[in-house]
């Protein structure tokens, strides 16, 4: 008789393991596309933070200047919250009320992979004659 856990927790463990396996197989939790409609905004945020730590308003300005995209505050903080939750960015301590964010190593790896994918896609389009 296994006394070390209840039936419910054992079932929950099995279930969570099965979900973990299926999720890692699909690459869901390690892919920026898993952020759904926030994927593009999240990529902009990651790219902006690649230059150094910034707080929310600075990221918004940076994205507008670099990419010409005017991100709304709801979209910006939706993306930041998701990136933060996944551990791809982290909050720096600050004496100010505002906290700047910076990329974590995993966030940097994600950004590099996303850009590599984009570059490969662009090369394929340009060299493959897909454009008229």
């Amino acid at each position: 008789m296994r006394r070390d856990r209840t039936l419910a927790t054992s079932i929950a463990d099995l279930y969570a393991t099965a979900i973990d396996i299926s999720a890692s197989d699909a690459g869901v939790s390690r892919d920026i596309s898993g952020l759904g409609r926030f994927a593009d905004s999240a990529l902009y945020v990651l790219a902006s933070l690649a230059a150094g730590p910034k707080h929310g308003y600075a990221i918004m300005q940076d994205v507008q200047e670099a990419a010409g995209v005017r991100m709304g505050p709801g979209t910006l903080y939706g993306a930041i919250a998701r990136l933060h939750r996944r551990g791809w960015i982290e909050r720096l301590p600050s004496s100010d009320r505002r906290h700047p964010y910076q990329l974590t190593p995993s966030g940097r790896a994600i950004l590099i992979r996303e850009f590599a994918d984009l570059r490969a896609f662009a090369d394929e389009v340009l060299q493959g004659g897909l454009l008229p």
């Binding site: 929310g56 308003y57 979209t75 939706g78 939750r85 551990g87 982290e90």
Partner: protein, 495 residues
Amino acid sequence: MNRRWLYLFPPGWRRDYGPDLADTLASVPLSASFVVDLVDGAADAWMSALAGSLFHRGERSGEDGGAARPSAGGFTLPAAAARHRGPVWAIAATCWSLLFIAGALLLPYQYTESGGPGEVTRTATYSLAAVKGFPFVAVFYGIPLVLSGACLVASQLALRRDLWWSSAAAWACVALSWAAFLLTIPTIGIFLIPVPVLLTVGTAGPSFCRSAGQLLGRSAWALGAVAWGCFAMAGAAVFPYHETVVRSVTRGPRGLITAQGASLVSHSMIATKGSFLLLFPLGATLLLALAGFVALWLASRRGRPWARHATWILVGLAWVDFAFTISTVGALLLPVPVLLTLGAARAVRWPAFATRSSGAAWALAAVAWSFLLVLGALLLPFYQTGSSTLSAGGRYISATSTSTLFAAGGYYALLLVGVPLLLSVVCFVALRAANGRPLRWSFVAIGMSVGLVWLECLVGLLSIGPFLIPAAVLLTVGASRLSRATKHGSALPET
């Protein structure tokens, strides 16, 4: 002015990102498109908070490097919930739904058969499936199972795929399970209630608990009691309550046919019992819950010592109110004294043995509950001994007499109620012993006592079984605490 937009967002989100967003909002002119984006972001934050609460996964939150924030004395979820969050609740709801179906298939169900005029009315006992048929059980009793399973899957999708509609689907399952409970209150609804409660706790619990716990402290429990009191009052006013009405037609001067029969009519409970019900016991219970909320709030947030004493007086009154109304709506009001007690108990500095050997503390709670049951069987007149119908001037008057369980059933009834007390004591002693030195006999004693209490719950489901469920649950939790301590090799020395 711009800071007011922050109140669109959930409290936990505001705590984490509020200052940043306030600064951003102060720096940009708010255009119409920004406002739309802000509202959309707020809706997304709420959905994320609700979906995230289904199954937290190492959420990083600020400077704490991902450690879960302790609640400031509000709700404290069990350890199992802390590890598995949403799924363990949804799995519990699924297990209950399976038990619900098993009960319909196996447990005895009493029904009355009556034939035509002159035939004898007889009462027979079969399983519900045998009486109503398997399709009936499969369709109506399968609904909670389907909803629990769907909620489990939807919550997992919401978490893993970050799909907003999955979160909405999980909440839809929660709403449908409440609807199923409310619509079936007069019949099987009371057995269904664990399903919507578990699904709601699993779906909303952790996120709500963190924010509400920080905001309200221990009074969050009492707020739950207030909500339940309002819910009971609204239910009494709105939802159908069955009443049997005996009608008769006497022979007329020209020899008209004599007819007599009983019919089942549905009105609300207040329409049936009168508005007195609104004042007492429903109104009194709601008042106690409100007073308990204020007292707990004053005790936990303002540190008023007199409020702590007042809380315990109110807890006592709530239990007295429950005890005296147990034959009518008391069972419906049980969550009020339970929630108030839990809220008040959070302020107590527990004795050393309770903090060190928490398994035994749970068993001690089971002992207390079982003892109260024995007292109730001796003192409370909630046992119906019979009803009689008398004809008075062409109208039929029904009268019901009640007595204590002991007066009606004698020592045999007392023995049945006393067995859980004995088993709880055995389990308590064994848990205390096992906590100091894990011994084989103590594990056997704990397992047997927990199993036997559950067995009595099931066998006596149509009589005293439901009253034994709290004892069985408390013992099970106590036993699981011990097994965790043993697993981690942290069995502590006995006091």
